[in-house]
């Protein structure tokens, strides 16, 4: 009975996932094609301007752009299900291979950035909650709010101006210097500025959330009882309050993946950092449909999976949710 419940539970999630992906692919496919612009430019470059109408028609036929959008979509979806996502118009090779070459950079920037954001946010949140309403808490809150409001592109430009242009300490763009692809320290140098922007622009939002979540818990009556038992304030904070905050924090972490991902894309573009973000930007700009489709799908799948993970995490950790869910699924079974 219990394992059947689980199958049903995950089955429902899987159906929801597939439906979301399908819907996403249809939307991206239509919207990208409705946007003005000439996809031939990205394949043939400037030659397009000198093409005769016959040549144009032939080129469009060759790239499969002549058919109605629905026919194009079905053809694309059929190929995609076989693992063929088409070629990139700009790079003239399989989109998967184009992405393969870039994804590592984004994972390094986004992944490490993500971990840094959440570790620092947790520490900062705990510190502020512990020192609630003291000068330290107030200063951190004020500075945090200000940094949180600065747009990523502006902060990026500012940092480039100061650290690359004026002080010449750090490189302003790219992931490595020419010819130093395998040089670890060189790569680290290139990461510092973009990473700073990614972390700074998200850090406070989550730190503040943690601070307030902990303070919500601290105001609960069970904290009074825990203190009346003779527990230390520290013990109450870490064993009771923090413990009750962590499930929602993990949930927030999972939900925030798309935000951090989006932030990474913007930062990559400003720093010309060769990752998925710059690629997505280019593909949208130059109508590189196949590349854009796959990038959007990948990002979308990550977002959907993360949201589901958030939901599952919350249900697993909170004992009340766990039993409620079991009760609900068994009700469904009875129907």
């Amino acid at each position: 009975m219990k394992s059947r419940n689980k199958v049903l539970y995950y089955g429902k999630k899987a159906v929801a996932f597939l439906a979301s992906v399908l819907l996403l692919s249809v939307l991206v496919f239509y919207i990208s094609r409705l946007a003005p612009g000439d996809p031939l430019v990205s394949y043939y470059g400037d030659r397009v301007e000198k093409m005769t109408p016959e040549e144009r028609a032939w080129a469009e036929e060759k790239l499969g752009l002549k058919d109605p959008i629905s026919v194009q979509y079905i053809r694309w979806a059929g190929n995609a299900l076989h693992g063929d996502f088409g070629i990139s118009y700009k790079y003239k090779m399989d989109v998967t291979r184009v992405i393969e070459g870039r994804i590592g950079n984004t994972l390094v920037l986004g992944g490490i950035g993500f971990l840094l954001i959440f570790t620092l946010a947790l520490l900062l949140g705990i510190l502020c909650a512990w020192k609630e309403d003291t000068w330290l808490d107030r200063i951190i809150c004020k500075v945090g709010t200000i940094t949180g409001c600065i747009p990523e592109f502006w902060l990026s430009l500012l940092l480039i101006l100061v650290f690359s242009m004026q002080l010449k300490w750090l490189p302003s763009s790219g992931a490595y210097s020419v010819g130093k692809q395998a040089d670890f320290s060189d790569r680290v140098c290139h990461l510092i500025l973009p990473m700073t922007v990614v972390v700074l622009s998200h850090l406070w939002y989550y730190a503040y959330m943690i601070r307030n979540k902990i303070l919500d818990e601290v105001r609960e009556e069970y904290v009074l009882l825990a203190r009346a038992k003779g527990l230390k304030r520290k013990t109450v904070l870490f064993r009771h309050c923090l413990r009750n905050t962590i499930p929602s924090y993990l949930g927030i972490m999972a939900i925030s993946v798309p935000h951090v991902l989006g932030g990474t894309y913007i930062v990559e573009t400003v720093f010309s950092y060769p990752g998925i973000g710059t690629l997505a930007y280019e593909s949208a700009r130059y109508k590189d449909y196949n590349l854009l489709m796959l990038l959007c799908l990948m990002s979308g799948i990550v977002v959907i999976l993360c949201n589901m993970a958030a939901q599952i995490i919350n249900e697993r950790i909170d004992p009340r949710m766990r039993e409620k869910e079991a009760a609900e699924t068994s009700e469904v079974m009875m129907l």
Binding site: L225, A226, A228, K229, G230, N244
Partner: protein, 351 residues
């Protein structure tokens, strides 16, 4: 005159656990100073139950929490002494207070639905209280003690129920758990802050009986805060009536119920339905309690008091002695005051 009644019991040879002298506690809010407890003095002997009675917001809970220093940061003890077993603790900081909490005194709160951590098993929460003051206790011993405590508060199948979460329990059962937690450190003094208010009536009676039974068994001195005089008769040895942050009358249960002297106590007693049985309406005290933000001049109760004298509006009455254990703060007890016949109480000859 004001403090003499405190030491009477001591002379009679009873051990004094808690003695509060001229305690004043204020909350400092954006609107100003809220004087929640004003010049309160009382004592509590070993094995005794003192009921603190009064309307909502009269400072009963604040009084208990201020003794345990569990008040929010904007609350300050402005004045007064708190002596626990003769030890003055009013000036203690958080570290020394923590050593006393749970071991010397402990507290049961009003709402059992919110006073347990929802994500921790009840066993773990009791164990935490056991370990708080017995750090060297082995794991098995702690478990043993948790089972004992759960049995003490009348929870059957303790071994299994240890692993349950608070939401598995009803309000009454949760209050038993809270009581087990409060008793884990063998406290000498227990503050019970309206422990039955949030429960329904049949469960209230069970919890009261349990409290009384445990109190008898362990001899824990108890301060029982309530607004329910029916509960007081059932559980208390002595009663302190609070109004607007002050104790206006204090005495044994018999003295308060059969020979009340303060007009506010008269009003409270008259508003118990049992006293008005067979009558058409239930008397109530007119008006509202005064704001503790700006307490009125003179006796805070004067404006609601049908027996108020002119001096009540000018000067606060001191505690007048009625007997060695019975004191009341009303000018009616001054020898110059006109004799009034109390509307309630068995002893009406005015002595």
């Amino acid at each position: 005159m004001v403090t003499s009644f405190l030491s009477v019991q001591e002379k009679n040879g009873m051990k004094e656990r808690l003695k509060v002298e001229h305690l004043s506690v204020s909350f400092f809010t954006d609107e100003g100073e809220v004087q929640a407890v004003r010049d309160v003095s009382f004592s509590l002997n070993a094995g005794e139950v003192l009921a603190v009675v009064g309307e909502s917001g009269c400072g009963k809970s604040v009084l208990c929490k201020s003794i345990m220093k569990l008040l929010p940061e904007n609350a300050k003890i402005k004045n007064g002494k708190i002596l626990v077993n003769g030890e003055e603790i009013a000036g203690y900081g958080e570290r020394r207070m923590r050593e006393l909490r749970g071991k010397l005194f402990s507290m049961v709160f009003q709402n059992p639905m919110t006073s347990l951590n929802p994500t921790m098993t009840v066993g773990a929460q009791i164990a935490e209280a056991v370990r708080a003051h017995q750090k060297d206790m082995g794991k098995e011993e702690v478990e043993q003690r948790v089972t004992e405590l759960m049995q003490l508060v009348g929870i059957e199948q303790a071994e299994e129920r240890k692993k349950a979460y608070p939401y598995h329990f009803s309000g009454g059962m949760r209050q038993r758990i809270v009581l087990a937690i409060a008793l884990a450190g063998n406290p000498e003094i227990l503050f019970a802050d309206e422990p039955t208010t949030a429960l329904d009536v049949t469960i209230q009676a069970q919890i009261l009986d349990l409290l009384r039974e445990i109190q008898k068994k362990l001899g824990t001195a108890t301060v029982f805060v309530t607004h329910d005089l029916g509960v007081v008769a059932r559980i208390a040895d002595r009663v302190a009536v609070m109004y607007a942050g002050k104790i206006v009358e204090i005495g044994t249960v018999d003295e308060i119920f059969y020979d009340p002297r303060h007009p506010y106590t008269w009003g409270l007693l008259r508003s118990i339905p049992a006293f008005s049985r067979g009558k058409e309406s239930l008397p109530s005290i007119p008006g509202m309690p005064p704001s503790l933000l700006h307490p009125p001049k003179g006796d805070a109760f004067a404006s609601r008091n049908a027996y108020a004298l002119e001096i009540d509006f000018e000067e606060e009455p001191p505690m007048f002695r009625v007997t060695d254990s019975h004191y009341a703060a009303t000018w009616l007890l001054d020898e110059r005051a006109p004799k009034v016949v109390p509307p309630i109480g068995g002893n009406t000859d005015g002595t």
